[in-house]
Structures are given as C-alpha cells and as structure tokens.
Amino acid sequence: MAILSSPAEPAHPVASRGGIRRLPLGLLPALIFLAVFFAAPLLINLLESLRGPGETHSLAQFARIFGDAYYLTVIGQTLLFGLVVTLACALLGYPLGYAVARTEGTFKVVLIFLVVTPLLVNVVVRSFGWLVILGGNGAINAGMRALGLPKLNLIYNWTGVGIAMVHVLLPFMALSVAGTLETLDRRIEEAARVLGAPPHRLFWHVTLPMSAQGLITGSILCFTLSIGSFVTALLLGKNSTMVLPLLIYQQLTVASDWPFAAAMGVTLLILVSAILWLQGRLVGEPRGRP
C-alpha cells in the first residue's frame, strides 16, 4: 500500500511532470467518506429546497427568502454578528494565544487548561450558566446593585448572545494563534531585537505579521462556527436577535416547513463558502515555513 503517490519530494509541491496526476490513495478514504455522508445529505437538502407542490421543482422557496426584506435582514444580521464576534475573538484571543506560546512549564499547562475551559461543558448548560451571571438578578447585576449602579441589560439581546459566543470561540482563536507563534522561527525576533528594535516595534512589525496565519485560521473557524450556531441565540437571545440557523431550526420544528428550511440551509452554506473563498483569494495560499 502506497500512502504517498510519489517518492521523496521537497515540502513544497513542484510542478508535475506532465500527464494526468492520480489522486493519491491517501486522499481516497476521506474523500469517499465525505462524498457519501456529507455530499449526499446536502444533495437531499438541495432537492428538498427545490421541491414545489406535487412533484414539481421550483425556486419558489429561494424567491421567498430573497424577495422578503425580513429574511434578507436576518441574513445580514447573521453575517454581521459573525463578523463582530470574530473581531472580538481576534482582539481578545490574540494576547491569550501569545501568552500560551511564550510561557513555559506548569504555567503554560495551566494556561492551556484555562483556555480550553469553555469547551468543557455542553452548550445548553453553558447558556444557563450565563443566564445566572448576566441575568437581571444574576451575579453581575447583584454587584451593580450593591454598588448603587443601574441595572445592566446583558441577556435577551445581542450583547448576551455575543458574550456567550465569544466565550466559547476564544479557545479556537487562542490556540490557532499560539500554534503559529510556537512554530515561528525565534531567530528572526532575536535578530530584530539585537538590531535594536524596541519591543512594540518588534511586535507590530515582526511578530504580528508573522503570526497572521494563525489569526486568519482562527478567524475562519470563529466565523463559521458563530454563524452556524443556534442554541445560544435560542436561549440567550430574543425574537429580534434572529439568526439564520435559528430560523432554520424553527422552520423545521414548529412550522414543519422542510423545503423552506432546506432553502435557508443552502443559502447559508453558499454564503459561508463564498466568504471563505473570498478570504482565500485575498490572503493567498499559506506556505509551510516562511
């Protein structure tokens, strides 16, 4: 069994020597598995979204989405929400990742555990935990009352949903950034320092650009996860904080309108893919060692 289709080769793919390149065997199990169990359900969904009355096919469901200002608003809200959450994750998560990468020993292990903590509990239970903290009678407002300050409205709005979303996505961002920083060649930083660069210049002009890859990877993950989630919005939001996955869930359950839900699902998938593709074009292909 040949795992690699060709013998010893440099890390960077070189131009093929003409002829048709076969797909390496190693790719086949994953591709076949996903072709069957990922593409097939997608196809079923696509067909369902095109289902008209009787046995006909039509784009009626898509017309419903794109012809209605409300649904377009929901799409817009969802994307905007994803963007804001991703930005917050990047800003808050980068320093965390930096700290993880630049520490050693026990402190590092403790930091890693801390960073991973949000992922330890199920989303439903986590959301109830947030209600206890952010609620009108919750911990934060209890503190506000004690200090004689006005009540903060932190739940049943975008703020609450956003806080909970950023919380659970931070591990992904922090560890992506840490990963890139870990594998960076420290000698470049050393060289810059030896050449007299002050710490903040070192950071902005050397460290940050070199760790951009980690930021981008983390951002992609944060963005796709934030616009695909609905449980947080269901429990911590209200009707006006409607996002597309929640609408899909609602149409599948209480309205039992599968074609409509399927059309929204297809729309969401296309949107995410388009954004990822755009990002790929703008940023360019990542290389191994710079």
């Binding site: 690699l4 010893a8 990822l276």
Partner: protein, 264 residues
Amino acid sequence: MSKLPPALTVYIVIMALFLVAPIVVVVIAAFTSGDFITFPPQSFSVRWFDKVLSDPEFISPLWNSVRLGATATIVASALAVPAAMALVRGNVRRRRLIESLLLAPLSLPTIILAVGLLFFTAQIGLGASFTSLVIGHVVIVIPYVLRTVLGVYMSANHEAEDAAKVLGANPLQAFWHVTLPTIWPGILAGGIFAFLMSFDEVAVSILLSNTDTTPLPVSILSYLVYNYDPSVAAISTIQIAIVILVLLILERVFGIRNVMFASR
C-alpha cells in the same frame, strides 16, 4: 516561569475569570440543595449527585457520549491522517480545492446535516443507530483533525522521512517509525478538539440517536424541557471532571504543552 510583560499577566488573570465563569457557576449550582439553579446558592448538598449517579437516564448517556466521541475521533483520525499526508506531499492538482472540500463540514450548520443524514441513513437501511451517530459525528469532526495534522505536517521537516525511504524502509515502516511520531501532536490536538466538539453536538445527536444510544446533550435537553433542577448541573460537573481527568492523563503521558499548538 513566565517572561510575560506585567500588563499581559493582568490581562490573563482577567480573561481567566471570564473563561471559567459559567463553568464555575454550573459546578457550584450542582452543590445547591435547593430546586433551582440560583446564584448564590442558599445552601449546599450533594443530593443532586446522588440522584444523577443512580439515574440511568443520565449515566448511560454520559457513557454513550464518551464512546461516541472516542469512536468518532478515532475514525476521523484514520481518515484525516492519510489525507493530510497526501495533501502535503502527494503533489495533488487543485490541492487547495480538495482541502476546502475536506474542510467544508465546518461551514455547515449541523442541523442541516442532521436532517439530510436522517433521511439518507433511513434510505440506506441504517436508521437511527450507533453507526449513524458515528457517521454524523465523524463528518462534523474530520475537519478538526485534518486542520491540525496538516499544520504540523506542513511545517515539519520531511528529510528524516525521505532518508528512511532511501535507506530501504517501505512506506508503512517509514510512516510508523518516522512520520507518526512527528505528526502525533497534531493528531492529539485535533483529536481533543474532535472529542470535545462531539460531546457538544446537539442536532445530529437528537435526530440520529435511539433509546440505547442517546448521548448526554440529548438527554440533558429532554430533561430540561420539563424539569429545571440542578441535576443537570450535577451531571455536567461529572462530565467536566471526566474531561479534565482525561486531559491531565494526556498531559502526563504525552506532554500536552507540546501538543496543543499544531494548527496552521
């Protein structure tokens, strides 16, 4: 010890509070003697732990989630590792396209996948079963393992691998003795994420589970629909303890500090 600037250390402390806050709340709530998850709790007791530990409605699902997560992670790794290696060294045409295809499940809201899989597995005769659940979870978690293994393998030095082959090792030997130890941190990191994501998965689990394969999130949700008491907090605390235990063991055995970074 840390060589971090003091401002950063302060930031870390504040963020640490943020990161653990809801978890701490849940754990404290598990020890409340009252019938509600309130804060601060009025008095303490362990009666909720008694209840969930003796209630098959919680304990079986916990075990189901563990074996589901483990199985899905192992299968996903078995699929992702050869794929990652092929992508990096296999000189594949349209490499980026294939990579995006393999990572595509990340972009799909799991509820869409869940409904599609439900109908698909019904048509191929599988129905709601452990196999269907594993399939659904594998689709969802493959990208996590693939990403991290790609990251490590891409930035790894391939000379040792090539040398082994030149010296006469067959591909399998080269993989086992040279490549695997190199990419092992990537597999472990991706595997941990995969396991945690599987534990958290709701939509697929709801639709593809049956009576003896119900995973924990589903049983918690069913319970929560009509009951609201700290048993949910108690079972979640037990779940947290198990995951922390597993992570600690991994840290002792493999050195997690070397492991968690392997992503691009």
